[in-house]
C-alpha cells in the first residue's frame, strides 16, 4: 500500500528526482539508491532501478497485481553540485517523512529556483582556474596573467557554443585551438617565455578529470555500462582538446621549422 500518493505519482516523482540528480552530475549509485529508497519508504514492495548516464529505467512492485515501469532519457548533463546536495537532502527528508504529490512538486520547484553563479562570475572563475594552475605548474606571474585572460575568454567561448547546442567534441576542439593559439601569441608578444605551462594550465578547465575518475569508480562499483559510457565520453573530450591544441602548434612547426 502506497502512502500519500498514487503509485503512478510515486514512480514519476522518484524518477524526476533521479533524473535531476543525474543531470546535475551525481554518481550512478546515488541515483539508483535514491529512487530505490524513496519508492520503498513510500510502501512499494520492491523497486528495481537501472541507471546509465544517458537513461534511467525503474520498475516498482506495489502488490501482487500492480507492477509499474517508467523510463527517462537523459539528454543534457552538467555539473551543479549545489543542486545535488539539495536533491539529496530532499530525498532523505521524504524517506523519513513521506509528503504528498503537490508538496513534493513544490519542493522540487524550490530546488530548481536555487540561485546559480552568474555568467560573469563563471568567466572570472574559469580565468582563475587557468591562472592558478599555471602558477601551480611553475609558471611566472606574467604567464599566470596570460592564462587568466585565456581562461576568461575561454569560458565566454564555451558558454556561447553551449547556447548553439554545439556538439561537445567540437566545443572542446575549438577550446583547444583557442588556448594554444592565444598562448603562442601571448608568449610571442612578451608575456613570459614558456608556452607549455600556459597551455597546460589553461586546458585544465576543459580536461574531463571528474568524468574520468567517476568512470573508473563506476566500473569498480560494478556499474560497467555506466563506466564505459562515461569513459568513452571522457576520451572523446580529451581527444578533442588535444587535437584542437595540436592545430596551432603544428602550424607553428610548419611556419618556423623548429620547436
Amino acid at each position: 500500500m502506497i502512502t500519500c500518493m498514487t503509485s503512478a505519482e510515486l514512480l514519476s516523482c522518484a524518477l524526476l528526482l533521479g533524473r535531476r540528480l543525474l543531470e546535475c552530475g551525481a554518481e550512478i549509485y546515488r541515483v539508483e539508491e535514491s529512487i530505490e529508497r524513496m519508492c520503498l519508504s513510500y510502501g512499494a514492495q520492491s523497486a528495481d532501478v537501472y541507471a546509465v548516464p544517458t537513461a534511467i529505467i525503474a520498475t516498482i512492485r506495489i502488490d501482487e497485481e500492480e507492477i509499474l515501469t517508467q523510463t527517462s532519457r537523459i539528454k543534457q548533463r552538467g555539473t551543479d553540485l549545489d543542486k545535488v546536495a539539495a536533491l539529496n537532502g530532499l530525498c532523505r527528508a521524504v524517506c523519513t517523512c513521506p509528503v504528498s504529490y503537490g508538496q513534493f512538486q513544490k519542493d522540487m520547484q524550490q530546488i530548481e529556483a536555487r540561485p546559480q553563479y552568474s555568467k560573469q562570475v563563471q568567466y572570472f572563475a574559469c580565468g582563475g582556474v587557468a591562472a592558478f594552475f599555471t602558477l601551480l605548474f611553475g609558471g611566472s606571474f606574467t604567464e599566470g596573467l596570460l592564462a587568466f585572460i585565456i581562461g576568461f575568454l575561454l569560458q565566454i567561448l564555451v558558454s556561447y557554443t553551449e547556447r548553439l547546442y554545439m556538439h561537445a567534441l567540437f566545443t572542446n576542439l575549438l577550446g583547444g585551438v583557442w588556448i594554444s593559439l592565444a598562448a603562442l601569441l601571448g608568449i610571442a608578444v612578451g608575456f613570459g617565455h614558456n608556452y607549455d605551462v600556459v597551455i597546460i594550465g589553461s586546458i585544465m578547465p576543459l580536461v574531463p578529470g571528474l568524468l574520468m575518475t567517476n568512470s573508473i569508480r563506476d566500473m569498480i562499483a560494478g556499474d560497467f555500462m555506466a563506466g564505459i559510457s562515461r569513459f568513452s565520453e571522457a576520451l572523446l573530450i580529451a581527444a578533442g582538446i588535444a587535437a584542437g591544441a595540436a592545430i596551432p602548434l603544428g602550424m607553428r612547426t610548419l611556419l618556423l621549422g623548429v620547436f
Binding site: 555539473t79 553540485l81 582563475g128 591544441a245 595540436a246
Partner: protein
C-alpha cells in the same frame, strides 16, 4: 618548503575557482577549496620521498578521507568536496605531452606519455575507490545494526 606552501596556496585557489564552476555555494565552497589544498600538500610532501604514482595515490586517499569526513559532519554528499578537491591531480599535463609527442612525430615517447597519463588516472581512481568503498561498508553496517540486522532496502552491493 616555501615552494610547497606557495603551490598549496595556488592549489587552494584553483580548487576554489573550480568549485565555483561546479556551482558549490556557501561554507561548502570553503571546504571544497581546502580539499584542493590538502590534496596538493599530501602530493608534494609524499612525492618528495616516494615517487610519482604512489604520491598521486596517497593524495587521492587523503582528499577522499577529508571529503568523507566533512560529508558526515555537514550532511552533504562527499562528491561536493571531492570533485573540486582532486582536480589538482588531474593529468592535464600528461594529455598535453602525449599530444605534443604525437605532432612531433615521436610515437614511442607519445605512447609512454599516454600510458603514464592512464597510470596517474588509475592511481587517483584507486585511492578514491578504496576509501569510499571502505566508508560505505562501515556506514551500511551501522544502518543494519540500527535496524536490527535486516533490511532489504540496503542489501545492494
Amino acid at each position: 618548503m616555501g615552494a610547497i606552501l606557495h603551490q598549496t596556496a595556488a592549489s587552494f585557489f584553483a580548487s576554489l575557482c573550480f568549485a565555483v564552476l561546479f556551482q558549490v555555494r556557501g561554507r561548502n565552497l570553503v571546504c571544497a577549496a581546502a580539499a584542493g589544498g590538502v590534496c596538493w600538500l599530501v602530493y608534494a610532501v609524499s612525492g618528495a620521498g616516494l615517487g610519482e604514482l604512489p604520491a598521486y595515490f596517497l593524495a587521492a586517499v587523503a582528499t577522499t578521507i577529508y571529503a568523507e569526513f566533512f560529508a558526515r559532519v555537514l550532511r552533504t554528499p562527499a562528491i561536493v568536496y571531492l570533485a573540486a578537491g582532486v582536480i589538482p591531480l588531474v593529468p592535464g599535463g600528461g594529455i598535453y605531452r602525449t599530444m605534443l609527442f604525437c605532432i612531433r612525430g615521436a610515437p614511442e615517447e607519445a605512447l609512454s606519455a599516454c600510458i603514464n597519463t592512464i597510470g596517474i588516472a588509475g592511481a587517483m581512481a584507486m585511492g578514491i575507490v578504496i576509501v569510499s568503498s571502505f566508508v560505505r561498508m562501515l556506514s551500511h553496517q551501522q544502518i543494519i545494526k540500527f535496524q536490527g540486522g535486516s533490511s532489504h532496502a540496503i542489501s545492494r552491493k
